[in-house]
């Protein structure tokens, strides 16, 4: 048993690694720059910062997030790329440099060209006396950082040149630089070495990388801070988890409460009118998409449009925290009736079908016939002898049900505006709040695997015939 347990837990490791790689890879592929996201939230909008200042702030934020490190242990690319590309902190600049390299393959010339743009940019930044002329040139220059198509670059350089030539002071200071910029770009094209792109090269970055940093923090249960509001992810999750656990447990509880007698009795009275109608109804319930039902309930029962405004509107109520506990409980309960209903009916149908199947299996056994023959009363036969043995699928289901309901509550929480994990997840995904998304993905995976494992273990506890000591697969 213990060996089996250890073996199963060891399988967790590759699975979690795969999921962590998926989550991490996704966050790297996702468009948008987290540094910009945070800085935009923090700084006052519209305040003009000087270029070195802006760079310093950017760099500080990037360092705080660990984005100044290479992303992974190693990278497979060609010899045309430098292995220090990650040191270009700005994501949009870096990606443009990489696109240029993919096109021409001669990094030194491209780097020289980039530094030339920067030089002109810095010079324009420090020149204070010609604001209008600078305002004409600067946007084009900024666009040069982000352009890689030949035609576009040429036209931008033309515009920059024309803008600088139009002003005598600028022309005196930056004329030669601009000419240099053009010749730098010409060099890239003339000395292009695209053949370098076909020589593979593995770049090794060692342990000091973003993935390693994140994963080791994660394993020591430090989930990082949200990009959006800077709060620790663990805090945000703890707040959200409260609601999710409440509605999930309530939903599963009610589902079992109704499903077990329903399943048991429809198995006992097999093919009766009760059995047939309950089977049909449960089948329909099972097929009803819960986001449709939830939407309908919201439309019909929480608005005054149809004269059926029986339930409070969305959310979880907003009584102050110092209101009497009973009142708060009542308020929350009123808000949670509909969501809990939406979550439980699908599970109810599923559980009840399983219970029915399990009972049908058991009821045909000899020992049940014996029990009847002994003259035991119906209650004893059904609940003590039959049901106890039909518990099997019900128990395994509980463990697998929890992750399923958890996922299902994403929808319901979103529709009913409940500040639980569902709302947190959807919000985090929409806002690209990666620390939150990573954590939720990983924890959900752990939950799923733990659920399956617990189900298997319970299986063995309930049924002594099941043994995990040999290599038989459960």
């Amino acid at each position: 048993m213990l060996r089996y347990l250890i073996k199963r837990i060891l399988i967790f490791i590759p699975t979690l690694l795969v999921i962590s790689l998926l989550a991490f890879g996704l966050s790297k592929l996702a468009p948008g720059d987290p540094v910009e996201l945070i800085n935009r939230g923090g700084s006052l909008g519209g305040v003009e910062q000087s270029l070195p200042d802006a760079d310093r702030i950017y760099q500080e934020t990037a360092e705080r997030l660990g984005l100044n490190k290479p992303s992974f242990y190693l990278a497979l690319s060609s010899v045309a790329y430098p292995d220090t590309l990650y040191r270009f902190l700005r994501r949009d600049h870096r990606e443009n440099l990489s696109k240029l390299t993919a096109q021409y393959g001669n990094w030194p010339a491209i780097e020289a060209y980039y530094h030339r743009i920067r030089q002109i940019d810095l010079a324009l930044d420090s020149l204070k006396e010609r604001p209008t002329a600078i305002r004409n040139v600067r946007p084009q220059l900024k666009l040069l950082y982000l352009s890689y198509r030949d035609q576009r670059i040429n036209s931008l350089i033309d515009q920059v040149e024309a803008g600088i030539a139009a002003d005598s002071v600028l022309q005196a200071q930056l004329g030669p630089e601009t000419a240099q910029l053009r010749s730098d770009y010409e060099t890239i094209k003339e000395k292009a070495t695209p053949c370098l792109l076909y020589i593979p090269d593995i770049k090794w970055y060692g342990l000091d990388n973003q993935y390693h940093q994140w994963l080791s923090a994660f394993l020591s249960l430090d989930f990082g801070r949200s990009y959006i509001d800077g709060r620790p992810v663990a805090d945000k999750m703890a707040d959200a988890l409260r609601w999710t656990i409440v509605i999930n447990l309530a939903a599963i509880f009610f589902a079992y409460l109704i499903a077990i007698p329903l399943g048991v009795f429809s198995a006992i009275w097999k093919d009766s009118a009760f059995d047939r109608s309950s089977t049909l109804i449960l089948f329909v319930l099972y097929s009803l998409p819960n986001f449709w039902i939830a939407t309908m309930l919201v439309v019909f029962f929480t608005t005054p449009e149809y004269g059926m405004d029986w339930f409070p509107s969305l959310g979880v109520g907003n009584l102050p925290a110092d209101a009497p506990f009973g009142q708060r409980l009542l308020d929350a309960a009123e808000h949670l009736i509909l969501p809990v209903f939406c979550l439980s009916y699908g599970a109810l149908a599923f559980i009840s079908r399983q219970v029915r199947g399990g009972m049908l299996n058991v009821i045909r056994q000899d020992y049940i016939r014996t029990a009847w023959a002994k003259g035991l009363d119906a209650r004893q036969v059904i609940w003590k002898h039959a049901f106890a043995n039909a518990l099997f699928p019900i128990i395994t289901m509980f463990a697998t049900l929890f992750p399923a309901v958890f996922a299902g509550s994403v929808v319901i929480e979103y529709i009913f505006n409940i500040p639980g994990m569902g709302g947190l997840t959807v919000g985090a995904i929409f806002q690209r709040d990666w620390p939150v998304v990573y954590t939720i993905l990983m924890l959900a995976a752990v939950l799923t695997m733990a659920g399956i494992l617990i189900a298997d273990l319970l299986y063995a506890l309930v049924d002594p015939r099941v043994s995990y000591n040999n290599s038989n697969k459960p």
Binding site: Y286, P289, V298, F300, V411, V426, A445, T448
Partner: protein
């Protein structure tokens, strides 16, 4: 389709209807399937849905089917097909004036004279079912109402049918391809029977990063700037060529004793682990996060992603079937005849295992449709101008009094999902009587 004689007899014997002996497998299946009345009705409804999906352009369209305008005869709906493949053009007048506003001499309209994206300005802002475009003219009636922009709900439902069917079928086709092949490999070869020479194993493993590098890494500029489809084909050609080359090399290197040593590959274990890993991934969350980061929204990405994640059920089924099939006599016969392992697997063993997989496919289509509806309900993944059942349902959240937006699209989703679930149940009964108690 090749059907194992043994299985045919097995099922026929099990049914023991007396006349079972001389019947073909399919007629037995059909006969069993017909016993389940609900499933038969589901199948009929499925035909209706498929019909609507295929002929949606003729049922709901803002263009007339036939019209006479300024003395000329036009068949605009047919013509739009020609236009879309580049064989015809619209005259300027059709661009300048909306279709509904020409003074036709005669016009035959489709039953629903609106396209899903037609904006009926006069009925914008949630017109109730039965609203007409002009007073007294019942040709242009919104039988199921309109949404905020004045788009007809019924037309939206009809075009949504096509999208839902497409998503369900394409996603499951991808899943069946992946799951079928992986499951078949695992089940047929097991852990013992698949052997490779060391040279081939190592060269193929080396081929994976090289394929990525030459197929995509080096060609990233061409792939980004060139025509995507052609460039992708070239990339795939490069990858194929690379593997062909490596395997040719392996065939030569095999002669070297050290490299030629055969290694046993535990295929079954690998496939099972892979399934386990995929099953532990919180699929909904993963799909949500993948779809949310794709900038260029398209329904095809959703299909591909659903297919790539939802193959595990099919793989399990296929594996279990092949574990059974591979020990049947006719497979042994095929091996005794000296057929190659691959031929035996793909020509003889796999077709026999495919039919039971249909069950998983039916349920899979239901869940793929549900998932797509949910994603468009959240408003991610599908382009905002695309009308799907999910996006229409979402429209009802901003206007509670528009009950038609909550009821009809949701009912369409429910109906479709139920049809496929019922079909799955019916197929379970018909294909595998043993599963049924």
């Amino acid at each position: 389709m090749l059907i194992g004689v043994k299985k045919e007899q097995e099922i026929a014997a099990q049914l023991s209807t007396g006349k079972g002996k001389g019947q073909s497998y399919w007629s037995v299946v059909r006969q069993q399937f017909r016993k389940n009345r609900m499933a038969v009705w589901a199948l009929r409804l499925l035909y209706v849905l498929l019909f609507v999906a295929l002929t949606g352009d003729f049922i709901a369209n803002e263009k007339p089917l036939y019209c006479q305008l300024e003395g000329e005869t036009h068949f605009p709906v047919f013509r739009s097909y020609l236009v879309s493949v580049g064989l015809a053009d619209w005259e300027a007048k059709f661009f300048q004036t909306p279709w509904h506003e020409h003074d036709y001499e005669t016009a035959v309209w489709p039953p629903v004279p609106f396209s899903a994206s037609t904006l009926d300005i006069s009925n914008a802002n949630y017109a109730a079912p039965g609203a007409v475009r002009e007073v007294g003219d019942y040709t242009f009636t919104h039988w199921l109402g309109t949404d905020e922009l004045g788009r007809d709900v019924l037309a939206g439902l009809i075009s949504g049918t096509r999208i839902a069917m497409l998503v369900g079928i394409v996603a499951m086709a991808i899943a069946t391809l992946i799951g079928g092949i992986l499951g078949a490999l695992g089940g047929y070869f097991g852990d013992e029977r698949f052997k490779l020479s060391r040279a081939r194993l190592w060269l193929n493993l080396l081929g994976l990063p090289l394929a990525y590098f030459y197929g995509f890494g080096s060609r990233s500029f061409a792939l980004r700037e060139g025509p995507l489809f052609t460039e992708l084909l070239i990339s795939l050609g490069i990858i194929f060529g690379l593997f062909a080359l490596l395997n040719a090399m392996a065939s030569l290197l095999k002669r070297v004793p050290v490299l030629g040593k055969e290694v046993r590959i535990p295929l079954d274990l690998t496939v099972m682990r892979l399934i386990e890993i995929f099953n532990s991934i919180p699929a909904l969350l993963l799909i949500l996060s993948i779809v949310a980061i794709i900038e260029e929204k398209s329904i095809f990405y959703i299909m591909a992603i659903i297919g790539l994640i939802r193959w595990t059920g099919i793989a399990r089924f296929m594996r279990a079937e092949l574990l059974r099939v591979r020990s049947l006599e006719y497979i042994e016969a095929a091996q005794a005849l000296g057929y190659s392992e691959w031929r035996t697997l793909f020509r003889h063993a796999m077709p026999n295992a495919l039919t039971p997989v249909l069950i998983t496919v039916a349920f899979g289509i239901a869940s793929a449709i549900l998932l797509e509806a949910f994603l468009s309900f959240l408003g991610i993944g599908v382009p905002p101008d695309e009308v799907t059942w999910g996006s229409m349902l979402n429209g009802s959240r901003s206007k509670a009094s528009a009950w038609w937006l909550a009821v009809f699209p949701g009912f369409a989703i429910f109906l479709t999902v139920t049809i496929f679930n019922l079909l799955g149940e019916g197929l379970t009964d018909a294909l595998d009587p043993r599963r049924k108690q």
